[in-house]
């Protein structure tokens, strides 16, 4: 049961790179496996390393349709799977006065009155689909139970209609910030991928790609400073998105090399807590901020 998007690990890396997503070997290998084994991919990692971006990039490369389920506290069956269109059912009943009961009953629980929500949409889709279940950890534990049937067999059971099975498996990506531990049952059904901060070399390529016009030497310095900040014991270490923001800031300021003044003034782009800024400034031997 493959989704059949990719032919090899290199193929994944090359095609993702073409859309502007530079994948580390771990990312490329795991995406390839998710495609080949037809299993959902659970992506964890700190905020801002490109977890959601990965799903979008895969969508773009494969020309598939993106179906997204954004999880939040209190998301439930009727938001994730399907809902009966009550208003329309009522209308149908009122319109059909004089019909026998049997006719009405069989009628109002038909496809016509079913409102598909993201999971059902993805399962029923005839065209290639990427299903993105974003921030899975924000949803309540009960929703995980709901996902189990979908993720293991790619089918959904609607009591009134029967079981709907996927005609083609969607390429499924779940993301999580680990604010809650996901259940073992869910993890077992997925391939696990941890996207951490990229290696220096890769991050430099990402910065150069995302911020065209930035001098290579400056990009290298930017990545080195960010690397040093990540090695510090901070409340919130800068992520890739912050590195890119910082590079853009430097470009906008017209800085052609890093010096104490520039770093001091722009540290707020990288660090979001005053304690962290003070701490980093002390470690980097900047004068008082």
């Amino acid at each position: 049961m493959t989704t059949g998007f990719f032919s090899s690990v290199d193929d994944v890396a090359d095609r993702l790179a073409a859309t502007g997503y530079l994948a580390s070997p771990a990312v490329a290998t795991t995406v390839f496996l998710a495609d080949r084994l037809g299993k959902p991919l659970l992506v964890e990692g700190p905020a801002g390393v490109g977890k959601t971006e990965l799903a979008k990039a895969v969508t773009e490369v494969t020309g598939a349709r993106l179906v997204r389920l954004q999880c939040y506290e209190g998301v439930d069956e009727s938001r994730a799977l399907y809902e009966w269109n009550h208003a329309k059912q009522l209308l149908r009943i009122t319109a059909g006065r004089g019909e026998s009961w049997d006719e009405t009953r069989t009628d109002i629980f038909g496809e016509e009155f079913l409102l598909p929500r993201p999971l059902l949409t993805a399962i029923r889709s005839e065209q290639p689909t990427v299903l993105l279940i974003d921030e899975t950890d924000k949803a309540d534990v009960e929703v995980e139970g709901l996902l189990l049937e979908v993720l293991s067999d790619f089918q959904i059971t609607v009591p009134e209609l029967g079981t709907i099975k996927a005609t083609r498996r969607p390429f499924t990506v779940l993301t999580s910030n680990a604010s809650r531990e996901l259940s073992e049952a869910l993890r077992r059904r997925c391939l696990f991928l941890y996207v951490g901060f990229p290696e220096e070399e890769l991050e430099r390529r990402i910065v150069t790609l995302k911020v065209p016009g930035l001098d290579d030497a400056l990009a290298a310095s930017v990545v080195r400073v960010v690397g040093a900040l990540r090695a510090m014991d901070l409340r919130k270490v800068p992520s890739v998105s912050e590195t890119i923001d910082w590079a853009r800031t430097l470009l906008a300021l017209g800085a052609d090399r890093l010096d104490e003044g520039v770093v001091r003034e722009t540290l707020g782009v990288l660090l979001k807590h005053q304690d962290d800024i003070v701490r980093a400034a002390a470690k980097l031997d900047l004068d008082a901020v």
């Binding site: 690990v9 070997p25 771990a26 290998t29 795991t30 390839f32 496996l33 998710a34 080949r36 084994l37 299993k39 964890e44 990692g45 309540d140 534990v141 680990a178 604010s179 809650r180 531990e181 073992e184 993890r187 077992r188 391939l191 696990f192 991928l193 941890y194 951490g196 030497a217 310095s221 080195r224 400073v225 690397g227 040093a228 090695a231 014991d233 409340r235 090399r257 890093l258 010096d259 104490e260 770093v263 304690d275 701490r279 980097l284 031997d285």
Partner: protein
């Protein structure tokens, strides 16, 4: 499956792939990883899909199918290195196995400095293999000999190469270092050296595994994940590693507490709002609205033994509670050895420098009287006398300590007084229950008065806090 192998051990990989995989899974299970048969089969499929041509891909494929969390990764990597060792080390062994002399050492250090400055991973792997082969061997008999990463590293002393690597990097053509990033250089070199040391350790483990059997080494010589390390046995490095887990753990606990709080408020129907909402469904109350309780957060008192034996445990818990402070209306932390003092302020300020917390507590708070040994009886008595106002019907008290009173009076009456005033008292003991009551431990006596639970590692602590904390 591909037979052209250059990453993984060439001769054996394809034929014994299945046995290697099951061996690896067995070793991981011995480390407490829950890996089912289905996942092992998936791992087999994954290996078939990526082939054996690239060792890193093999590693990632297995990680993707067998692991369930990032915390498991360090252990996995070490075990993986034993079951799927680098192929090219055979060649290195051929010329590097004889004990080497001082001249070789100097030459090796030269090449190491070069490799560190260019950051060439393959060369570093080769050098690690050579170093262990040349300087790590000990013993002579077939039973008593082995390979030691400690011995290798203490002869090679890669940390002393810092100056040389720095000079090489500065002298390298084309790197016109701007003045600012220059100050990062030393730390970067230190990180590279540390990575090299890890390579040496991996190589030594691999050689020992060849001698003693892979399964045995994978189970014994690979340290477990940080959260399963016993508090009482944890070394400095492990405590540092634990400290880094405080914040993520606190975040998870906070989410769990919030969920419990939400659930606790279920049940009572808010009639007015239910009727109001029923207007949209034609007067039929389809969705009842539940009453929201005003958020009344509990108070927490932490009473910690910070004497030498249990200091690591106490500090970790203090940091965790501090990170959770917004979940409570009030948190007060008291520390004792044989006298009690309040350290709430020290800990609040200490979040900026968690590593120095223990020293500051010992330096700034008054915790010892005539001697430096812990004395639970006196400390509990003093707490009950001096800080009785900290306790009330909404206070939950956590006492942390091993209940080893060094032979003095346990003062059960004081603990009774504390238990009577507070809503709940939990005692977390970092020792295993089989040791309670042995030697000078008076744990069973205290356990008769308050609930005492063993709490030996960070995982247990997380589970206990998530369950016991009031909502």
């Amino acid at each position: 499956m591909s037979r052209t192998v250059d990453g993984v051990d060439a001769a054996t990989a394809p034929t014994t792939a299945a046995t290697r995989l099951t061996g690896l899974v067995g070793a991981l299970r011995a480390h407490g990883f829950g890996i089912g048969t289905g996942e092992t089969v998936d791992a087999g499929h994954a290996l078939a899909a990526v082939g054996f041509t690239d060792r890193e891909r093999v590693r990632e494929a297995l990680a993707a199918t067998l692991l369930h969390g990032e915390a498991q990764r360090p252990v996995f990597d070490r075990v993986f290195d034993l079951y799927f060792p680098l192929g090219h080390t055979r060649a290195a062994e051929a010329h590097g196995n004889t004990p080497a002399g001082p001249a070789d050492l100097a030459a090796l250090r030269d090449r190491l400095a070069e490799a560190l400055s260019t950051g060439d991973g393959a060369a570093l792997d080769r050098l690690a293999a050579e170093a262990v082969g040349g300087f790590g061997g000990y013993g002579s008999g077939p039973e008593s000999d082995g390979w030691s990463s400690y011995q290798t590293l203490s002869r090679l002393r890669p940390e002393t190469l810092l100056v040389r690597v720095r000079e090489r990097l500065r002298a390298a053509p084309g790197t016109e270092e701007s003045e600012f990033t220059d100050r990062l250089l030393d730390d970067e070199i230190r990180r590279r050296v540390e990575a090299f040391r890890e390579r040496v350790r991996t190589e030594a483990r691999r050689r020992v595994a060849e001698r003693q059997g892979r399964d045995r080494v994978a189970r014994r010589a690979v340290a477990g994940t940080a959260d399963t390390v016993d508090f009482l046995l944890a070394g400095r490095a492990q405590l540092d590693e634990l400290r880094r887990t405080v914040r993520p753990l606190a975040r998870k606990l906070a989410t769990r507490l919030a969920a419990r709080r939400r659930r606790a408020s279920r049940g009572e129907i808010d009639l007015r709002r239910t009727l109001r909402r029923s207007l949209s469904t034609g007067g039929v109350p389809v969705r009842p609205v539940l009453r929201r309780r005003p958020p009344r957060r509990p108070e927490l008192v932490l009473l910690c033994d910070v004497s030498g034996s249990v200091a690591g445990f106490a500090q970790f818990t203090m940091l965790l509670v501090q990170a959770l402070h917004d979940q409570f209306s009030r948190v007060r932390v008291f520390a004792f050895v044989n006298r009690v003092d309040e350290v709430t302020g020290l800990i609040a300020r200490g979040s900026a420098d968690p590593a120095g917390l223990g020293d500051r507590i010992l330096a700034e708070a008054e915790l010892t009287g005539w001697h430096g040994q812990s004395d639970y009886g006196t400390a509990l008595g003093e707490f009950a006398d001096r800080y009785a106002e900290a306790l009330g019907p909404r206070t939950v008290v956590f006492v942390l300590g091993d209940a080893r009173t060094n032979g003095s009076d346990p003062n059960l009456a004081a603990l009774k007084r504390i238990a009577d005033r507070a809503r709940r008292v939990h005692w977390l003991n970092p020792e295993q229950p089989s040791l309670w009551g042995t030697g000078d431990s008076v744990a069973p006596a205290y356990a008769g008065l308050v609930e005492m639970r063993p709490c030996r590692n960070a995982r247990q602590l997380g589970a206990l806090i998530g369950r016991l904390l009031p909502v």
